[in-house]
């Protein structure tokens, strides 16, 4: 359904944009309906940039992004609006998506104004209550409240509810769990699980491998802007073939194995090289399991 084909992104940095930084290198991924694809990697590995390109918040330098086979690049306001009917994003800090001086439910009103101006008030209220129930929020306790009166988990779920008003096909979720409390984390994760059962495709961006392991069937591991390992979650996490993936997994805090039980030192990794040359290609090492060749 959503497909990235050999996508590259270079940002201009430095005074007057004199230098370039290649943040995403030759990334090809796809998401099917009813699937959560996790993109994991260290800070700075390019995860957010991928999400931003899918949401057209930043341009694609090279390559293409397709939705149901068609290039998504919007030309003009109307095309952009049509695209956002199908693809929406939710980000790390739920508080920053709300204006503190307005009630939180204003986010629903803005959807009505731009997409459904013809819908009658009563019917709209019913739809809002419906999507709120869908994200397991009690409308009575979240409507007519200011953002500071709601928890991070409630605000995050309201943002997902807003996306659902549009009957989207793809949801980009960038670190939506990391600011949440231990007890609300699992709620929001389980909600993503329900969305995929409804046929949505979710691009789940996280640096937390345990969250990716819990919720996604496929995972992509990124380093220095490129994919180093990809495939079925079970295979990648139980039999990581790339040293970077092994290092990441060894750093995850677990309840059944302490860091101090493992004696292995982190494995040596290739240093960051010239980011403008194509990264090593992926080879299939097992069914549904790809690893970047040693350079």
């Amino acid at each position: 359904m959503l497909e990235l084909k050999h996508v590259w992104k270079s940002y201009r940095i430095g005074a007057l944009g004199s230098k370039r930084l290649t943040a995403v290198r030759d990334v090809s991924i796809d998401i099917a309906p009813g699937e959560v694809l996790s993109v994991v990697g260290e800070s700075g590995s390019g995860k957010t940039t991928i999400g931003k390109m899918v949401l057209q918040l930043t341009s694609v330098t090279r390559g293409e992004i397709l939705l149901d086979g068609e290039d998504v690049t919007a030309h003009g306001h109307a095309e952009r609006k049509a695209y956002y009917r199908k693809v929406q994003g939710v980000f790390q800090d739920p508080f920053s998506s709300y204006n503190p001086i307005f009630k939180a439910d204003r986010i629903f009103e803005t959807v009505r104004e731009s997409y459904f101006p013809g819908v009658k008030r009563a019917e709209w209220t019913a739809r809002v209550e419906d999507v709120l129930q869908g994200v397991r929020l009690d409308p009575g306790s979240v409507l007519d409240k200011y953002p500071h009166q709601l928890s991070g988990g409630q605000l995050q779920r309201m943002l997902i509810a807003r996306a659902l008003l549009l009957d989207i096909k793809v949801l980009v979720a960038d670190e939506i769990i990391s600011m949440l409390d231990a007890s609300t984390r699992i709620d929001v994760l389980n909600l993503l699980g329900e969305l995929k059962e409804r046929g949505l495709g979710v691009l789940f961006i996280t640096h937390d491998l345990s969250l990716a392991n819990y919720i996604s069937e496929r995972v992509v591991i990124m380093r220095h802007g490129a994919v180093v390992e990809a495939g079925a979650t079970g295979k990648v996490f139980t039999d990581p073939r790339h040293p970077y993936s092994r290092n990441l997994l060894a750093s995850v805090p677990q309840l059944h194995r302490k860091w101090s039980d493992g004696t292995a030192e982190p494995e040596a990794l290739e240093p960051d090289g010239d980011r403008d040359v194509a990264p090593p290609p992926l080879t299939e090492v097992d069914e549904h399991h790809w690893v970047a060749a040693a350079p």
């Binding site: 260290e42 800070s43 302490k258």
Partner: protein
């Protein structure tokens, strides 16, 4: 015994009345011990840390004591506490990474802090550099502005700075939450190393991440609505928790070594109570699957075995 806290009560004054953020907290900390403090947002973890070092304007010390190395800490007396801060009790505050002054170079900022304490930068410089190198940084960072460092680097600078005077007690408040897994591990292991090298005697590590604190803590305390509900050796808390709240927290943790498929973990229904008017009896009652009539009365703190304390009617 480094620290002995007894029945500590600290409230926030608000227009609506007192928020009872710490409502009778007691625990002790042995020399060399790292204790993890876990619990949901708003349960009072930061308040506990702050109480041992600096009350902010709206906080009020209502009762209880904290004794550090045999001397009572003058919690309510800001001036008297000043002599203890950094030297005896030190804190790495939540969000301290982003709180570094952006207009000061790291070295200059540290020099100013030392001067304000009547200490000479020159005298501490060698030790400072040695410790920076110990955490994988070089002397060069002293010439950097905070913005030039990554999150993980800034966090390590803050760790070195807050332990430079070898305090007896270090409070580390959510020091790993904003970092990715690799930096999390490096920072957490540095805390242990600082204890092992004697830079700090003992430590309270505040976090909502139980699996992280399990890696480094000797003891874990679980806090709920202004109180400590369970305390035990780290291994015991994770492997045989007794309090229903601790069990629920652990049951809601996704893990990387397991395969879930379509299996779903259970969340904890409901929300913690407001601390403006906390309910009587057990505060976890409204969310507890085991709640019964007796839970309407305050549960006793039971020692189920040496070093394992639980505040619950059903602990045995």
């Amino acid at each position: 015994m480094t620290l002995e806290v007894a029945d500590l009560q600290v409230h926030y004054r608000t227009l609506k009345g007192d928020v009872r953020a710490l409502d009778g907290v007691s625990f002790s900390l042995a020399d060399g011990e790292i204790v993890g403090l876990a619990g949901e947002s708003g349960c009072g973890k930061t308040t506990l840390g702050k109480s041992l070092i600096r009350l902010d304007g709206r906080m009020r010390h209502v009762g209880g004591t904290a004794v550090l190395d045999g001397d009572e800490l003058p919690i309510g007396d800001d001036k008297a506490m000043n002599a203890r801060r950094w030297k005896e009790v030190s804190i790495i505050p939540q969000y301290s990474m982003s709180a570094l002054n952006p207009t000061r170079k790291i070295g200059k900022m540290i020099a100013e802090l030392l001067r304000a304490r009547g200490k000479s930068y020159r005298e501490f410089k060698d030790e400072l550099v040695r410790r920076l190198e110990l955490v994988g940084l070089t002397e060069k960072v002293l010439d950097n502005y905070p913005i030039e460092l990554s999150g993980g680097m800034k966090q390590r600078v803050v760790m070195v700075l807050s332990t430079l005077l070898d305090p007896s007690l270090l409070i580390a408040d959510e020091v790993t939450s904003a970092l990715d897994v690799t930096n999390q591990r490096a920072v957490a292991e540095t805390l242990v190393r600082f204890r092992d090298m004697g830079f700090v005697k003992s430590m309270i590590v505040v976090t909502h991440d139980l699996s992280l604190v399990y890696q480094i803590a000797d003891t874990i305390m679980v806090m709920y609505a202004g109180r400590i509900v369970e305390k035990a050796p780290a291994e015991t808390i994770i492997k045989s928790p007794k309090h229903p709240y601790t069990r629920a927290l652990i049951g809601a943790l996704p893990e990387v070594g397991l395969e879930y498929g379509d299996e779903r973990l259970q969340s904890i229904p409901g929300k913690p109570p407001h601390l403006l008017n906390p309910p009587t009896g057990c505060r976890f009652r409204a969310r507890c699957p085991l709640a019964s009539e007796e839970c309407e009365a305050e549960p006793p703190t039971v020692t189920v075995e040496a070093g394992h304390e639980v505040s619950c009617w059903k602990a045995n």
